[in-house]
């Protein structure tokens, strides 16, 4: 029998200015003021601002162009279409950390949860103080945050969009007397389809795909999807453009694409940006390129209630529990489809069937941990490979977080809880609040922790000192002319909140810098 995909996603709505592999019938050479590699939070924002400022912008994106009508609840099909390597990307370490990156026009903003938070003031102060970054403190960044929030329509959810899983999470926090706040999300009347991670099927989530990309195109930017950039070209210490290839349907290289530009921007994320710079021969005198990888390790647990929850009916992460923010822990309800939930449990056979029979009674809750260790990205065989070792301190913090989250969900009425790690030789399961102490009394083998992330940061960090940082405060690579990084690689430290808005604000600030200094980039 031959495996046959379900009907292909429709691609019949493509705006002017977007070119795909179907449009490139031979080797292609383009000239532009600016070439941007990547169309996610950083790339699309920068493209829109620079295009509006009058520059001729070309954006290259490795993934495909999909439109809102292409997004469905068929989770694994969406993962195959929208995630790099089908989501099977992993930082090597103990435990390995699975990470996910969007690979589509709009980048990871197409598949993120839509949380839109400003960089915490204490983090900006730290960057100012420790990295020597001027003009980065909260009062300096205020106009950029405000501008981004206007563009991507950052708001609280309409009350009718909040589902029962989120209400139970809030009920638990309220019962414990813990601080819980409504999430700020980039959405226009999101109705709670709970499909954020597989592409928003209503168009409510203001991903780059439906906000900054159309704006960039409106102001004349050109966007080429299905183009994989191999390297940045150079003339001495000056970046001069990029060379890549069209990505054929089978993933192989097609026609060659060359872009010559006065400013080259790498905006392909904290895994691929350092790899692209490295394989293009742009080392950093700091020795920090690819290092300083932080990734907000996430774990999730599953709470099973007696009542119907139907977690897929209602918005993803309507609330955040902020009680332990100062300890670097955030909690939220993060419903996931049955297929993804099943694959992350240790159950199988009849046991799996019995567990999943209660799928409609489950609350999946996740936690974000502001990490203290750093890893690195290396080119291995021409491809980036991440390495990251969860520190004992952070592993203990995740255990502590699971204990707190379990207490909270039991307080909301949960009957049992599946943990993201084993307790001794057994699968981690708690049968009541009195069981929570087992998290501390029984050994938790680190290798059994199921750690995931979507927040990779820090691998081409900003800083005023060229011997300690890869780029300056605007993302311009030290000791190289006309080469910029514009994504979460720039973060000198983890930020403890969802990174999208920080990336977009930094991109806006970088655009302002470029447009304010036309002679430097002409």
């Amino acid at each position: 029998m031959v495996a046959v995909a379900r009907p292909a996603l429709r691609q019949d709505v493509r705006p002017d200015g977007v070119y795909t592999r179907d449009d490139l019938h031979g080797d292609t050479v383009l000239d532009a003021d600016v070439v941007i590699v990547g169309s996610g939070a950083g790339g699309a924002t920068l493209a829109a601002e620079l295009a509006e400022g009058g520059l001729d912008v070309v954006v290259l994106e490795e993934g495909r162009y999909w439109s809102t009508r292409d997004f469905t609840a068929e989770a694994s099909q969406m993962i195959r279409q929208l995630y790099r390597d089908g989501g099977a990307t992993m930082a090597i370490g103990n435990p390995p950390v699975l990470y996910q990156e969007g690979k589509a026009v709009g980048g990871s903003t197409v598949v993120n949860g839509g949380m839109s938070w400003r960089t915490p003031e204490k983090i900006l102060d730290r960057w100012w103080r420790e990295a020597g970054l001027d003009g980065i403190r909260a009062k300096d960044m205020e106009p950029y945050f405000e501008r981004v929030e206007r563009r991507i329509h950052v708001r609280h959810q309409d009350p009718e969009s909040v589902g029962k899983d989120n209400l139970l999470l809030k009920q638990g926090a309220d019962a414990k007397g813990w601080k819980v706040i409504p999430n700020l999300r980039n959405q226009v009347h999101c109705p709670g389809s709970n499909n954020c991670a597989f592409g928003c099927p209503t168009g409510a989530k203001q991903s780059a795909l439906v906000s900054y990309v159309p704006r960039a195109l409106h102001f004349g930017a050109r966007l080429y999807s299905d183009v994989r950039v191999a390297r940045i070209t150079r003339d001495g210490k000056r970046a001069t453009g990029v060379v890549g290839h069209v990505v054929r349907a089978d993933g192989s290289n097609g026609h060659r694409v060359t872009v010559r530009a006065k400013l080259v921007v790498s905006a392909c994320g904290a895994i691929h940006s350092p790899a692209l710079l490295d394989r293009s021969g742009f080392g950093s005198p700091s020795g920090m390129l690819g290092k300083n990888l932080s990734l907000h390790p996430n774990v999730k647990l599953v709470a099973i209630f007696d009542e119907d929850v139907r977690g897929w009916e209602g918005v993803h992460q309507a609330f955040q529990v902020r009680e332990f923010k100062d300890e670097g822990l955030l909690f939220a309800a993060v419903n996931i489809p049955p297929s993804i939930l099943a694959m992350t449990t240790s159950h199988r056979g009849a046991e799996l069937g019995a567990l999943m029979a209660d799928y409609d009674k489950m609350v999946v809750a996740g936690m974000l941990c502001e990490d203290t260790n750093t890893g690195r990205v290396r080119n291995v065989g021409g491809k980036p490979q991440a390495f990251y070792q969860l520190s004992d301190f952070d592993a203990d913090k995740l255990k502590q977080g699971c204990a707190l989250l379990s207490e909270m969900l039991f307080a909301a009425g949960a009957k049992r809880i599946l943990l993201p790690f084993a307790l001794g030789p057994h699968a981690g399961e708690l049968k009541g609040p009195d069981d929570v102490r087992r998290i501390f009394s029984e050994p938790v083998p680190k290798q059994t922790m199921e750690v995931v992330t979507v927040h990779m940061m820090g691998t081409a960090a900003m800083g005023s000192d060229r011997t300690r940082a890869v780029t300056d405060g605007f993302g311009l690579v030290h000791d190289v002319d006309r080469l910029m990084v514009c994504d979460a690689s720039l973060f000198p430290t983890p930020i403890g909140v969802n990174p999208m808005e920080t990336i977009q604000a930094l991109a806006t600030r970088a655009a302002h810098h470029v447009l304010s200094n036309p002679r430097r980039f002409s």
Binding site: Y19, A32, S76, A88, H189, P338, A342, G353, H512
Partner: protein, 175 residues
């Protein structure tokens, strides 16, 4: 996405693992072939080296049963259910991380595939498409004015402070 397709040997091994990993309903619902097909779709988007390693691992798993005394010289795909279960457990708690990781990966791919089958989702009462259609329609009915207003704002000029919009240079290059 590659045009990966299971070889007959890979298909045999995966088919034999469905009752070990998936709930008994896989047989009741007649979705075993569909599950194995779905694993193929997932493997098609995995990095080539990962995919090759996984296929090699499956072959090793199958042949490794020859050295599993209770199997009495049979390959894994020929084992009766109880022995197949014990043999899989022996890998899940195997002597090296490679044994354990392969067993986990097999389980993950098959469990994902099982619960992506419409029949399995229906049995859970999981009908997200109907929910999405319902809320999408309601959103457009109630909030269309706000939606239009924001869409319009996305293409209105709003230059950065101190930056005068100017005529952009003409598009260059050839596609």
């Amino acid at each position: 996405m590659s045009d990966y397709q299971h070889s007959p040997a890979t298909r045999r091994i995966l088919t034999s693992l469905v009752p070990v990993i998936c709930p008994p309903e896989a047989a009741e619902l007649g979705i075993t072939d569909a599950i194995v097909d779905h694993v193929g779709l997932t493997m098609g988007v995995l990095p080539a080296a990962f995919r090759a390693g996984f296929v090699l691992g499956l072959r090793t798993y199958d042949l490794g049963a020859l050295a599993f005394p209770p199997a009495r010289g049979r390959r894994a795909h020929r084992l009766p259910p109880e022995l197949a279960d014990r043999y899989y457990e022996s890998w899940l708690h195997g002597p090296t991380p490679i044994h354990r990781q392969l067993a986990i990966a097999i389980g993950q791919l098959l469990k994902l595939a099982h619960y992506e089958q419409p029949a399995a989702q229906e049995r859970l009462g999981y009908r997200p498409a109907a929910w999405i259609e319902q809320v999408k329609r309601r959103r457009l009915e109630v909030y269309s004015a706000d939606i239009q207003r924001h869409a319009q704002s996305l293409i209105e000029p709003d230059p950065l402070p101190g930056i005068a919009p100017h005529a952009r240079s003409s598009k260059k290059g050839a596609a």
